[in-house]
């Protein structure tokens, strides 16, 4: 016969076991639920990604076909005055704006490039004669903008699924301030210009003739001076001066960047 006391403590032990078992069943259930939700989210993102990608590629191919047709006309054109091709070019430009409105609104540097191209086109349209070189330069600039917009759109689509960690240092010491560090999670397609816009209030100038990258930052957080950018080179453990405009420099994961006052 089992003693009453032994039975009592055996019951306590069973209660302990039951509590732990129930808790772990609940824990397992919650974990499963969490993993399922995460998988569903990823699946949805993947579906969206595939749909957006297909849309972007179809749009790009259509515009590219239009551009190719105009380029063919231009190359086989026999006359001296290319103004007869300006109407087709106007349609192409309008289609470009219509198809990439979102990207043009999101990225001011590309919008400025578009407006500059439009102004040049309007300037040539007012002339009675458009030379081969003039029309050729319009086509060349259109192609550059078109490739920039389409790649930005694809980057934006893929960027929704992947983010990177970067650090940005803004050095105000030469202006009597301190060094500011920003550790940011940002879309993988972002440029240094996008990052700077995200962490600070900036003003900038657009230089059409400067390439690659057209942007020069003129003030950061109301500090107007010559701002130059640098990136940290891990191989030599030193800051390297930015070789292009900040809007043409794509960020890398765990990259470290700096804005500093010149000189």
């Amino acid at each position: 016969m089992v003693e009453k006391r032994t039975l009592t403590f055996a019951t306590l032990a069973v209660i302990v076991w039951a509590f732990l078992a129930t808790s772990f069943a609940a824990y397992y259930y919650m974990q499963q639920l969490m993993v399922k939700n995460q998988l569903d989210e990823k699946q949805q993102l993947l579906t969206e990604l595939a749909e957006n990608y297909e849309g972007s590629v179809a749009k790009r191919n259509l515009l590219f076909a239009e551009y190719g047709a105009l380029l063919g006309e231009y190359q086989w054109f026999q006359g001296e005055n290319y103004s007869s091709l300006m109407g087709t070019y106007a349609g192409l430009l309008s289609n470009l704006k219509g198809n990439y409105t979102f990207i043009l609104n999101e990225f001011p540097e590309l919008n400025t490039t578009y407006n500059n191209l439009l102004n040049r086109f309007q300037e040539f349209s007012e002339k009675s004669e458009v030379t081969k070189e003039e029309f050729g330069s319009l086509l060349e600039d259109f192609y550059k903008l078109f490739t920039a917009l389409s790649s930005k759109e694809l980057d934006t689509t893929i960027g929704k699924a992947s983010r990177i960690q970067v650090s940005l240092c803004i050095n105000y010491t030469k202006l009597g301030g301190t060094v500011e560090w920003h550790n940011v999670s940002i879309s993988s397609y972002a440029t240094l210009f996008d990052l700077t816009r995200e962490v600070a209030n900036i003003t900038y100038e657009y230089w059409a003739t400067m390439e690659p990258g057209h942007i020069i930052i003129t003030s950061i957080n109301n500090q107007t001076t010559w701002w130059l950018w640098y990136y940290w080179d891990e191989a030599i453990n030193d800051w390297i001066w930015g070789p292009v405009g900040c809007d043409a420099w794509t960020l890398k994961n765990n990259g470290i960047y700096k804005w500093d006052v010149y000189p």
């Binding site: 509590f19 808790s23 824990y27």
Partner: protein, 185 residues
Amino acid sequence: MQKRENTTKIALISVLTALCLALQLTPRPPNVEFTSLLTFVVGAVFGSFMGVLFGGFIMFVNGFLSPWGFAGLNMPFQMAGMGLVGLVGGLYKGYINDRSTFESFMEVAALGGFLTVVYDFITNFGVALFTMVNGVPPAFALLTVFASGAPFSLVHVFSNIMTFGIVSLPLVRTLNQIPVVKKFG
């Protein structure tokens, strides 16, 4: 004479309190603790009242100074849970075996595990309650709090089964050998 023995008793409890607080506030793996053991032992040696007071006081101080941060609104639940451990220690006082048998060690280990489960239940309920106050549906709040606390409870229960099983009875017997405890404990 009575006054002197009271002073000695208070001094002994103060030493145990200081020891317990030092252990409780020392950085340690989460949910590995000796407060339950010492509270149970104090209850088993000095009675339920002292056990409840001891456990409640330790958790009160711990609520402010714990290496895991300020306990906040869960502090009353922690105090109640640990007070219960002291209370049961006092109730168990009359049932402690004089013989050091395997059964008696197993018995106190099972009791330690059970008290830890009850303590975790009370404190987890406290966390769930405040989640409910913030607008989370009760069933979901209870489920998530108990589920997410499961790995911690496992560590807590097993570490306390070990400490209660191995240390509590020898400690109670050693403390009971101290003259003042022998006389007035």
